[in-house]
Amino acid sequence: MRVLFVEDNMALAETVVERFRKEGHVIDHESDGDEADYILRQKQFDLILLDINLPGRNGFELLRAIRARNLDTPVLVLSARSEIDDRVVGLDAGADDYMTKPFDFRELIARCRALARRKSGLARNLFTAGNFTFDWGTKLANVAGKDIELRNKEVQLLELFLTSLDRVLTKEEIADKIYNFDETPSFNAIEQTITRLRKKLDGSPFLIKTIRGLGYIGHMDET
């Protein structure tokens, strides 16, 4: 994974860079917004880690500039500001995820991996997380080298969760996405499908959390 880390605090930058290198990623560090913009015009990255308070050009401005150039590199915003407004603005400005300082390194790397995978996975037609793979083309899921036999509805459900990881999916949303007009959607049927999927993928990092009354959250546990 090739990462650009834009951060003006050298101490923090040093630790993050070291951690990423240890994990085997290629990471470039820039401490100035304008400089970062320049680098982004020269090189391709799989992910950008972006601090908001920067000398030169601040994080939001940089983000807007990137998005204005139709550069779809995933961006994870790091902010020390406690007001959530900043996060919202960050996401609205085109960020893919955010984290508030101080953060857990494991969490950071997990999120980075998820973001990078989302893009590269789509490109390679294969979703990989730990011992779990899913081929978008053949619709085949594999856990620890074993192919998992999935029914049609289960595949649809898995695809839905994989495209919206860490998001609450309501039963209504699920019903809308995987059932046709002529099929009678039953919340009970969804619940049963999810239970079956959970069971079939047991042992993989893929989790589905039920929140009664609200819906489900799909998650890849890679920490």
Binding site: S82, R167, L207, R212, G213, L214, D221
Partner: protein
């Protein structure tokens, strides 16, 4: 600023009082003037009508009927009497009931529809280019073979009357004006003496050292005394508040320093550790300690933020159900792996209700902070297999015959709960239940601040699930103002 405020005080008190008193006096003066004018006119007319009456009587006394002929010998006194109105011209005519002139200075027109009478009649008219007061009086003369009414008609110009009216009026006016001026002077003095204690209070407050919290001396009058007592009450509350702030700062200092010391200790121990096994344990402890310090810092900042935002009075329309869902989205993501059994129950009438079904007025960032703190609190203090029920429903409160819609956000858990006697305590800062968990002691305190600044209620109770039940009761906004 000092200048402006001083000017403001003067305008608000002295000027307003003196202006309103002045207006009152002016109104009274106007009424007095109108009254005076009427009185002066009446008095002048009565005085000078008497002259006309006297002169008429003197003349009629000298009228007699001799051998069928009316004889009138005007006495000198008659005109002498009229001459008392020194500057006035006089016109007269003496005639019979058949309008036959006996003698006259001028051919005066008698009063219309006059019925001869011994009591005088008066009227005003214009004559010879001046305004003239007329009077007419009759006397019945009886002779041997004839009897008839003899009528005297007088006209007198009104110079003396007008002079008298003017004199009476201006004298009365001068007295009234004098009383007004003296009255206003007294009002001025009274205002000043009434304001004096206030000025004392002002000077005392202005010259006071910023750290001086001694009460102001309470002096009469009662009105000022009660003001001073209020100020003293305020001073003592301010002092309490400052004391609390000092305690808070001391507490914060203590908490952060303690946490940092613990971290420092762990790191030092780790740096001296030889055994790789034990070193790992040390570092893990240090990391845990660090995480706790981070949490404490975040909570302190959140606490400061909600207080700051409450002072700023940031208010907008908030859809509480939507806000709750957003909070849950962020919050639950971090607990996907946990065994906690979450359940969300938004009442159907809110979920499917109209646009205003879940509308409240407030600061969304503060409320978001409060909700996540309540849920965080439930997660943190509960067991690994905790059950947390989050519900949002409407409640109609009947208050003095008026209906008030409330939106209640309730969070129940199956944790240890809080004994009733300590429920008030947990809202205080840095109070922790002391069960060895890593709570900052600020979570519910933040919630309490947010609820108070939103005039919402926070109720802690025993949950049916066995743990704590937290209720946040908001007042529903009935009509949404587009913002």
């Amino acid at each position: 600023m000092k200048h402006a405020s001083k000017r403001l005080t003067q305008k608000s008190m002295r000027h307003r009082l003196i202006l309103s008193m002045g207006a009152g006096f002016l109104a009274i003066l106007t009424v007095i003037c109108i009254g005076l004018w009427g009185y002066a006119q009446q008095a002048a007319n009565e005085s000078y009508d008497r002259l006309l009456h006297g002169a008429a009587l003197a003349i009629l006394e000298r009228a007699n009927l001799a051998s069928g002929e009316v004889r009138v010998d005007i006495p000198y006194s008659a005109f002498e009497i009229l001459g008392l109105a020194k500057e006035d011209r006089v016109f007269y005519r003496i005639f019979t009931q058949d309008d036959e002139t006996i003698t006259a200075s001028h051919n005066l027109r008698p009063k219309a529809n006059y019925k001869p009478s011994e009591s005088p009649v008066y009227w005003d008219d214009a004559f010879s280019g001046e305004s003239v007061r007329f009077m007419q009086q009759a006397r019945f003369l009886t002779g041997d073979n004839r009897s008839l009414w003899v009528i005297v008609q007088f006209g007198q110009t009104c110079i003396a009357r007008h002079d008298m009216i003017a004199e009476l009026f201006w004298r009365g006016f001068a007295v009234a004006l004098f009383i007004t001026v003296v009255g206003l002077l007294f009002v001025w003095i009274a205002i000043n003496s009434a304001l004096h204690p206030l000025i004392d209070v002002e000077q005392n407050l202005r010259q006071r050292d910023i750290s001086d919290f001694t009460p102001l001396p309470v002096t009469p009058p009662r009105e000022v005394a009660s003001l001073v007592l209020s100020i003293n009450g305020f001073i003592s509350r301010l002092k309490n508040n400052l004391d609390h702030s000092q305690i808070f700062i001391a507490d914060v200092t203590h908490q952060i320093r303690t946490a940092l010391s613990a971290l420092q200790g762990q790191l030092e121990l780790a740096s001296k550790e030889q055994s790789p096994e034990l070193l790992k344990g040390r570092i893990e402890k240090a990391e845990r300690q660090n995480r706790q310090t981070i949490h404490l810092t975040n909570q302190l900042l959140a606490h400061a933020m909600v207080i700051h935002r409450a002072d700023q009075k940031i208010v907008s329309d908030i859809h509480l159900a939507d806000l709750l869902k957003t909070v849950l989205q962020t919050l639950l993501r971090e607990h996907v792996k946990s065994d906690i059994d979450f359940s969300v129950n938004i009442a159907p009438d809110i979920e499917n209700g109209g646009k205003t079904a879940d509308l409240i007025a407030g600061d969304s960032i503060s409320i978001r902070e409060a909700i996540s703190n309540v849920i965080d609190n439930a997660i943190k203090h509960g067991p690994a297999n905790n059950r947390i029920d989050i519900s949002l429903f409407e409640h109609t409160l009947k208050l003095r015959g008026r209906e008030r819609k409330q939106l209640i956000l309730q969070v129940d858990d199956a944790g240890p709960g809080i004994p009733e006697e300590r429920r008030a305590k947990v809202l205080e800062r840095f109070y922790t239940t002391g069960t060895g968990n890593d709570g900052s002691g600020l979570g519910l305190s933040i919630v309490d601040e947010v609820m108070r600044s939103h005039k919402a209620q926070l109720r802690l109770g025993h949950s049916a699930l066995g743990g704590l039940s937290v209720r946040m009761i908001f007042t529903r906004k009935t009509v949404g103002i587009p913002t």
